[in-house]
């Protein structure tokens, strides 16, 4: 092995102990022989959908298994020696000194009861790498390098006093402080808003470049990893699908799965023009919770049969509140909604059964949107029974027809939600909405909890159903790729206000207002060098700064 290799993983096998109902535990292998090499100063991107084993492999380079995860075979050579054979005390001298970890959620990863600076320099002091004052000086330099505001004093704050995007950079500084040879970044930007993500990504890339540390960068977003990694390994079901240079993976993928990942999100629906009268007119809605601040400020949009309005914005933009106003869960303070030419009763409990039937909702988390104690048949059948009074054989026939429409096998009706995969669950939720034969469906981030390929399948199904059933969709999302894929008209929301609204082509074409420009430019694109180019051309700073 070349002495330039910081990390070498050879035929790594990882198992997890699963508890059976009778209390005995059984080992299941989740990573089946993965090998990888990282040279000094290089970044390896690990990419895959949930369950691909990417975090598990990343943590194995610290010889750490979460919960009942155990490394069962293979070698992990860090700076030339197998860390699996180090034993407890040996491991202690490696972790936090030679290899450090940056987790997905910095807000959970920091101890809430201690000041940031004490946590940042803790491993440096623990391993006797520097004196306290030296460590503090280094930490402040790192804060500055990661372009954190007020690098002199930010360390004296507590975690809850710092924003999420900043906290993620502080955690990067914490990993860099003991000058390790390798850092494992585990989805460090996934929990952030899109405009914040790009700044953190740039800061991390810059810090890696400055310090010359080697890194493993784990993510589910190929476009993100393409900006920081030198090499990329594509993982699926605990196996390597493809492993090569970033350039090769992005520009000339060999395997079908990689090709699918590269081209994902490239569906784009043709924009339809508004012809008939709108199904729903939302007029000058202002709303808020309790007596508190206004969350929605004078918002007006229209929805048309057979068309999709995408409501796009970051967290806190008020987009989900708009959905609550439309469903009647939150009556507005001002303004009204017209549905099929009539004023819609503001409060949900007072609405007519007809109106309730005509406006359906699909949620982000299919897991919590279905009663775990009801069968799929009951979940889909209840709206039919409830709204149309259909029972017995006819009910069963209608359920079968719905399952056909969402492309799931009919015998799934006897199963429980817990037995289904994420994509199947979301399909069932679509069927439940469809069962009411609605005129409008509100889709609240319906694809954001799903893996990209599965999400694509759901979007295609929704488009197909819209064409055949002539329903209007109000599609709430933070993801501009989804907007491009499905929308006819787009409403960009920012801090409760409508920043931009109109037909898709118009909204997504220049000239832009400052916020839309920031939002659009923050969406990672699947090409090399995109990050550098975009940072130099932005008009507005993200809220994370």
């Amino acid at each position: 092995m070349s002495s330039d290799n910081v990390l070498e993983i050879r035929d790594l096998k990882i198992g997890v102990a699963v508890k059976e109902p009778n209390g005995r535990s059984k080992d299941i292998e989740i990573v089946h022989g993965v090998s990888a090499t990282i040279e000094k100063g290089k970044v390896l991107g690990l990419i895959g959908e949930s369950g691909a084993g990417k975090s598990t492999i990343g943590l194995s380079s610290l010889a750490y298994g979460r919960g009942s995860v155990d490394i069962t075979g293979g070698e992990v050579l860090l700076n030339g020696r197998d860390i699996m054979k180090l034993g407890r005390s040996g491991l202690k001298s490696v972790r936090g000194k030679e290899v450090c970890y940056v987790s997905q959620s910095a807000s959970a990863g920091f101890n809430p009861a201690k000041r940031l600076i004490d946590q940042v320099i803790e491993s440096t002091l623990e391993h006797g790498l520097a004196t306290r004052s030296e460590a503090i000086t280094r930490a402040k330099e790192l804060f500055a390098a990661l372009s954190l505001p007020d690098p002199e004093n930010i360390g004296s704050r507590y975690p809850h006093q710092v924003s999420g995007g900043q906290l993620q950079r502080v955690m990067t500084a914490m990993a860099l402080c003991p000058k390790p040879d390798l850092i494992v970044f585990d989805e460090p930007t996934t929990a952030l808003d899109v405009t914040t993500q790009i700044d953190v990504l740039a800061a991390i890339k810059n810090a890696i470049h400055l310090t010359g540390v080697a890194a493993i960068y784990i993510t589910h977003d190929l476009a993100v990893v393409a900006q920081v990694a030198d090499d990329i390994m594509v993982l699926r079901h605990g196996k390597t699908v493809e492993y090569g240079s970033t350039k090769q993976i992005i520009e000339a993928p060999q395997e079908d799965y990689t090709k699918a990942l590269v081209t994902v999100r490239s569906i784009e629906a043709d924009q339809q023009e508004a012809v008939a009268a709108p199904v729903m007119e939302i007029k000058n809605i202002t709303a808020g919770y309790g007596r508190g601040t206004t969350v929605l400020d004078d918002v007006s949009v229209e929805l048309y049969a057979g068309q999709t309005l995408a409501v796009v914005g970051e967290s806190g933009s008020g987009k989900s509140t708009l959905a609550r106003v439309v469903t009647g869960l939150l009556p507005p303070r001002k303004g009204e909604i017209q549905f099929e030419g009539k004023v819609l009763t503001p409060k949900q409990p007072n609405r007519s059964l007809q109106d309730l039937k005509d406006i359906q909702m699909i949620y982000q988390m299919a897991d919590t949107a279905m009663n775990p104690r009801q069968t799929i048949g009951t979940i889909i059948g209840r709206p039919i029974e409830f709204y149309f009074g259909v029972k017995g054989k006819e009910l069963r026939d209608r359920i079968d027809a719905l399952l056909d429409k969402i492309e799931l096998p009919r015998d799934i009706a006897k199963r429980y939600p817990g037995e289904l995969s994420g994509g199947q669950k979301q399909r069932v939720c679509i069927a439940r909405a469809l069962a009411a034969e609605p005129k409008l469906i509100i889709c609240d981030e319906v694809t954001s909890a799903l893996d990209p390929l599965v999400a694509d399948g759901i979007l295609k199904l929704l488009l197909q159903l819209q064409a055949s059933e002539n329903m209007a969709y109000m599609f709430i999302t933070h993801d501009l790729a989804t907007v491009k894929a499905i929308a006819d008209s787009v409403a960009v929301m920012h801090l409760g206000k409508l920043a931009r609204y109109g037909p898709k082509q118009q909204v997504l074409s220049p000239p832009f207002d400052d916020y839309t420009d920031l939002l659009l430019s923050s969406v990672p694109e699947m090409r090399l060098g995109w990050l550098e180019k975009i940072l130099s051309s932005r008009k507005m700073q993200s809220a994370g700064n």
Binding site: L62, Y64, R66, L91, K92, S93, V94, R95, G96, K97, C100, Y101, S103, S105, A108, G109, F110, N111, P112, A113, K114, Q119, E122, S123, E126, H127, R157, Y158, H160, Q161
Partner: protein, 318 residues
């Protein structure tokens, strides 16, 4: 800091309000229910004349709310009224007994709290190994054992068979501290055994809950040893839940004290209360009930205040 102070002031005000409401509840509980005090003192055979006399003597002809305010005003002055059965002022009778009860409770708490927290930590450190499993098993047994089972078992062995400690815990004024401790070992041990396992198990759960946080993983991946992880990262965040556990069990101890005092014939508040319940001496019962409730509310208040003080979000607002 001001946010925390404001919250604490609120909690204290709330505690006082609660105490006032409890006093109303206890008073009305003994007044509005069917049957009247005079009737229950004299029994079914009382003549109407006797009843009327007693009612006048007790001031029962006045409306209930007036009697409540008179009672409350007395309480404020430290006057708890007069016992019906003995005619002795309740404050006098209670003073010494309250002291005895607090002594017994404090003795049991001084043993059980440090022991429970230490064993809880041991249990976390050796999670799912034999010390932990033993602790889990003993908890189940201990929450199922009535106080009198433990109490009489201890008397039978340490009092009667071995003769190490007195079986009857008679304390009197002027007794030396060492004698007092020796006499109260068995009741204090009984109380300790009653709350220990439960407190241990809950401490364990509180720390384990914290140990599952992501920041513990962060600390582990920094290469810290398990003792340092528990001490630096788990414990500061487990203070509030542990204090809550301790206070909950102290409250449990108050209830346990009543039964334990009867078992060991210990001259405390609990025994005094039980005696006067069967004699239907309402003023005594009211006074004792209110004092027990006040201690209970005070302990919960203390737990709340410590929780607020240990919360970094409240100590260092944004």
């Amino acid at each position: 800091m001001s946010g925390a102070l404001k919250l604490i002031a609120q909690r204290i005000a709330l505690g006082l309000l609660l105490l006032l409401l409890v006093s109303i509840l206890i008073f009305s509980g003994t007044q509005i229910l069917p049957g009247d005090v005079a009737q229950s003192i004299l029994g079914q055979s009382a003549t109407p004349e006797n009843l009327a006399n007693l009612r006048a003597e007790l001031g029962l002809e006045k409306p209930a709310y007036i009697r409540y305010f008179e009672w409350l005003a007395g309480l404020m002055r430290g006057d708890l009224g007069t016992a019906l059965t003995s005619g002795v002022p309740i404050s006098e009778a209670i003073a010494v007994r309250l002291e005895n009860t607090l002594f017994l409770g404090a003795f049991a708490a001084a043993v059980s709290v440090p022991l429970a927290i230490t064993l809880g930590l041991v249990s976390v450190r050796f999670r799912n190994r034999w010390p932990d499993k033993m602790i889990s098993a003993s908890t189940l047994a201990s929450i199922s054992l009535p106080e009198f089972f433990i109490g009489y078992l201890l008397i039978l062995f340490f009092g009667v068979k071995l003769g190490w400690f007195p079986s009857v815990a008679t304390v009197y004024e002027g007794m030396s501290f060492a004698d007092r401790i020796n006499t109260t070992v068995l009741p204090a041990l009984t109380l300790t055994l009653v709350v220990l396992a439960h407190m241990m198990r809950m401490t364990r759960a509180a720390i384990l809950n914290v140990m599952q946080s992501a920041y513990i993983e962060t600390a582990e991946l920094k290469g810290l040893g398990s003792f340092k992880i528990i001490w630096r990262h788990a414990l500061p965040n487990a203070i509030a839940p542990i204090v809550n556990v301790v206070m909950l069990n102290m409250a449990y101890l108050i209830v346990g004290v009543v039964v334990v005092e009867v078992i060991f014939v210990y001259p405390g508040m609990g025994q005094y209360l039980v005696d006067h319940v069967s004699k239907r001496d309402v003023p005594v019962v009211q006074a004792c009930g209110l004092i027990f409730a006040a201690i209970f509310i005070g302990l919960n208040l203390l737990a709340d205040v410590i929780s607020i003080l240990s919360n970094p979000r409240l100590r260092h607002p944004k």
